[in-house]
């Protein structure tokens, strides 16, 4: 089956990101395909490229990157939720006259329309909220 996940909780604030990651690994291990993880609301902080948690704690951002590298899972970030929280990629940073950027590939800033498409495209869409 094809799955999509919607993550609405910030990393290290609520259990949502950890629950989503655990579910993601389990569904892949059972032979399903995880098409995309869509980050919305405070969940967009999962895309912060400079996140540097203590070494003895799970590194959520690296873990999402690993899903993309190993399984081709898309990592989509709601652009409206991200921009107002200071999570800009290089293009948006330049467009807004800022220095530096907080989001990089494979995370991609995208619109809510992509979430609607994902909901139509996959067999199961599971939400993990704070």
């Amino acid at each position: 089956m094809r799955y999509g996940l919607l993550v609405q909780g910030a990393p290290y604030s609520s259990q949502a990101s950890h629950s989503a990651l655990r579910f993601a690994r389990a569904l892949i291990a059972r032979g399903h395909r995880l098409e995309s993880v869509f980050f919305y609301h405070d969940g967009v902080y999962n895309a912060a490229r400079l996140a540097a948690p203590p070494q003895d704690e799970p590194h959520l951002i690296d873990a999402w990157n690993g899903l993309n590298a190993e399984h081709g899972t898309q990592l989509q970030v709601c652009i409206a939720a991200a921009l107002r929280r200071g999570l800009l990629d290089e293009l948006e940073s330049a467009r807004h006259g800022k220095r530096g950027h907080a989001v990089e590939s494979p995370f991609e800033l995208t619109g809510l329309g992509q979430l609607i498409d994902l909901g139509h495209e996959v067999d199961r869409l599971v939400t993990f909220a704070p």
Partner: protein, 96 residues
């Protein structure tokens, strides 16, 4: 059949009432995160209406030291069982 997923304890949130009133006669309810507190013998009466269709996530019970306190009417599943529940359901609805 819809799988409802609830991550709030009945002791701290009343969203479980909305969950129960939205559930159809065949729907199932999975308690996750702090929601597993609802699986305790002292709390499970809140979910009497869905007895036999009530599940709790093992990993979240274990993380809270509650695995031995889960009521016997609740079906405990691990994360693989969680995936199976989503396979068997037509869709899922998360309550929070």
């Amino acid at each position: 059949m819809i799988l409802h997923i609830l991550n709030r304890s009945p002791g701290t949130s009343l969203v479980y009432r909305d969950t129960l009133s939205a559930m159809g006669p065949e729907d199932r309810l999975l308690l996750t995160e702090d929601g597993v507190l609802g699986a305790l013998t002292s709390q499970v009466r809140h979910f009497q209406a869905v007895q036999g269709r009530l599940f709790a996530l093992r990993e979240d019970l274990v993380a809270r030291g509650l695995i031995g306190r889960c009521d016997e009417t609740v079906q405990v599943v691990d994360v693989d069982g969680f995936v199976t529940l989503t396979e068997e359901a037509d869709k899922t609805v998360s309550w929070f």
